[in-house]
């Protein structure tokens, strides 16, 4: 069973990121005005048949809100605006690299089917501007008037925070050593790199702050190590972790490092990346340089640059990693109950993970339905259910199930609820459950 105290201690980093890190905040863009860009024409959409809810972003949060807001309040006329024309999930992408699933598992899910099954419109367009006074969203395919707007654009990388400030190096890192936590094309590249790794040193970095999917870099390192071991490759994985300890499920990960991958996986805590020399394949830190043959360099994380472009960033006193300026409980932009930001652009210290976004979206759908009918509902916690596969041969996983506590006095999320459990003992049952966990999420987002 879980050691909850151990979990709270070890994973407190994530929760601290939203509050304690504030003192070191650097963002000063909170009050930037949104550009009222108009495309000069209306989008080719049917006339709204009820209050129009526009959802920007077809990831876990946006897809779930589009579906469930319509279910909660059928009068909503829902339009999902998504710039991609092909879905592929970030969650469980690590499993693909180890050959445990196929790309079809990640990508065989249609935006069109999701829209038809759940009675909304999928609009394939890129947001270009927002006029909050006029309640108009501008896209490259025309303007859309809204009554309610939810923006769920996910994350962007922040290379400045790992000391990569020149555009040439940033561009090279994005293309040659992608983090693998934003776009599907990064996953395809990482899959190739991992499958083609024939020996030497593969470095996986872990950023500070509240980054997307806390256990994922450790999980990925374990799976690469598992492949190295299975294929008898003369190589090793080195984890350079900016944090002083594994940020979540520490006991389970350490057990895997020590018991499964001795000599194959090196874990180096408290080693923050301070620069990268791409040509020399060297990572600079405070005390050492690390040479690599290949790498997945995971920079710090911030809200999607779209949030900044639309002038919706929180002041640095509220988020030190450029996240959205929203109400803690109800997700609306402070002072504007028509516009909401959900998913990984939120400033909450929640785990930036799929299950959290999915369950949060169920709740926000209820908030929107209530407000459209002149009501309010009580806050409820999202749920973080997260499996991490630590061994590929055979597939074994560890997991966590967490809820959160809201402190009304502080108007902040202050910790995990007492029912939070970590399941640190790796086993095949949890390995198999990982696959069904993901399938359930796809069903919840795409099916009726």
């Amino acid at each position: 069973m879980s050691d909850r105290r151990g979990f709270l201690k070890s994973s407190g980093l994530a929760l601290a990121a939203g509050a304690a890190g504030v003192a070191a905040g650097t963002s000063g863009c909170a009050t930037a005005a949104a550009p009222a860009v108009s495309s000069g024409r209306m989008a080719d959409l049917p006339k709204a048949k009820g209050p129009r809810l526009v959802v920007v972003g077809g990831g876990t949060s946006g897809l779930t809100i589009a579906k469930y807001a319509k279910k909660e309040f059928p009068k909503f006329d829902v339009v999902l605006v998504e710039k991609r024309d092909m879905y592929s999930s970030c969650f469980t992408s690590n499993l693909w690299y180890a050959g445990l699933i196929t790309l079809e598992n990640l990508a065989n899910h249609s935006f069109l089917d999701a829209a038809v099954n759940n009675h909304y419109v999928y609009f394939n367009a890129t947001v270009t501007g927002l006029d909050r006074a006029g309640k108009v969203l501008a896209t490259n395919e025309g303007d859309i008037k809204y009554d309610y707007l939810v923006i769920a654009p996910g994350i962007s990388y922040d290379y400045d925070k790992i000391g990569v400030t020149d555009v040439d190096t940033r561009t090279a890192l994005r293309q040659i050593y992608p983090g693998g936590f934003v776009s599907p094309t990064e996953h395809v590249t990482l899959n190739r790199k991992i499958r083609e790794f024939e020996g030497g040193v593969f470095i996986q970095t872990v950023p500070s702050g509240n980054y997307r999917c806390l256990p994922a870099p450790y999980e990925r390192a374990c799976l690469i190590a598992s492949l190295i071991k299975h294929n008898k490759i003369k190589g090793k994985v080195v984890i350079l972790d900016a944090n002083p300890e594994v940020t979540i499920k520490a006991k389970g990960f350490h057990a895997a490092f020590d018991e499964l991958y001795k000599g194959i996986l090196e874990y180096k805590p408290g080693v923050a990346v301070k620069g990268v020399d791409v040509a020399k394949r060297t990572i600079e830190t405070d005390f050492d340089s690390y040479q690599f043959d290949d790498a997945a360099i995971y920079p710090n994380v911030r809200a999607s640059t779209l949030i900044e472009q639309l002038g919706l960033l929180a002041p640095s006193t509220k988020s030190n990693q450029k996240e959205a300026n929203i109400d803690t409980r109800f997700y609306n932009i402070i002072g504007d109950t028509s516009v909401y930001v959900t998913g990984d652009s939120r400033p909450h210290p929640y785990s930036k993970s799929a299950n959290t976004s999915n369950t949060e979206a169920h709740y926000v759908a209820k908030v929107l339905a209530a407000r459209a009918q002149g009501k309010e509902i009580a806050w409820s916690t999202p749920e973080t259910i997260c499996y991490s596969v630590v061994n590929a041969f055979p597939m074994q996983a560890i997991s966590v199930k967490a809820h959160y506590v809201y402190d009304a006095g502080k108007d902040a999320i202050t910790g995990f609820s007492p029912d939070t459990k970590v399941f640190d003992n790796r086993d095949a049952a949890k390995g198999q459950a990982t696959l069904e966990w993901a399938k359930g999420l796809y069903r919840d987002m795409f099916n009726a």
């Binding site: 199930k401 095949a428 049952a429 949890k430 459950a433 069904e436 399938k439 359930g440 069903r443 009726a448």
Partner: protein, 230 residues
């Protein structure tokens, strides 16, 4: 049999429970004997307490669990399905009144047992996710149900109970049959979610057909190659 004739509604059985007088009834489907793979009838005395047995009912693509609660006595209560409305779960049957049955589809995100794997199982002896003994646990997201209380939700992300299946027991022969269920709209949602998979397994349209004659009933560990003990 006219399955649209809700006989139990008229029979007073629901009213006799003392509550939920306006709850919808269990829908009648054909009475189908539960049998072994060789066709021999399943007898109440043969149903063990260690794991659930699986049978298809009332439609060929709908898996159900037959559970022997052992010493636990099942209760009835008003329960709610977002798809099919309120109902009162049927009482247990058998010599000890401890045999119950449910549709084996998690009402959270519709995980169900297949010949490959079952993530939903009756954890007779307790489990990591489900806690205490005698609960039905879904490994995918941790929903937990109590089969002694009509498979009502105990914990986890599901908001609703498993759908009920009504059994009958012939005291003369000790044989078991399935006679009704709730879930017509729920079944439709399940089919929409898994249509491709069900066509592949059963054939086009076959999964929607009503079970006829008898229904083969086997232990879950026989039915599914993998049953994760989460």
């Amino acid at each position: 049999m006219d399955r649209r004739c809700f006989t139990q509604w008229c029979s007073g059985a629901v009213l006799a429970q003392g509550f939920a007088s306006w709850a919808a009834p269990i829908e009648d489907y054909a009475s189908i004997p539960l049998v072994h793979p060789d066709g021999a009838p399943i007898k109440a005395s043969e149903v063990g307490t260690d794991e659930a047995m699986v049978f298809a009912y009332p439609l060929k693509g709908i898996p159900c669990y037959l559970i022997n609660l052992g010493d636990r006595e099942p209760t009835t209560q008003t329960l709610t399905s977002p798809d099919d409305g309120d109902y009162t779960n049927p009482p247990g049957v058998g010599p000890k009144g401890n045999l119950v049955a449910f549709v084996a589809i998690c009402t959270h995100q519709l995980s169900y047992p297949t010949p490959v794997a079952s993530y939903l199982r009756y954890a007779a002896g307790g489990s990591e996710l489900g806690g205490g003994p005698g609960r039905i646990v879904c490994c995918a997201h941790g929903s937990v149900y109590d089969p002694a209380q009509g498979a009502a939700r105990i914990s986890g992300p599901t908001q609703n109970p498993l759908m009920p299946v009504r059994l009958s027991h012939d005291t003369a022969t000790d044989q078991l049959s399935a006679t009704g269920a709730v879930g017509r709209k729920f079944f439709e949602r399940f089919f929409q979610n898994y249509k491709g998979e069900l066509i592949e397994r059963f054939g086009p349209g076959v999964y929607r057909q009503e079970v006829q004659g008898s229904t083969v009933t086997v232990p879950l560990s026989t039915y599914s190659r993998q049953v994760p003990a989460c």
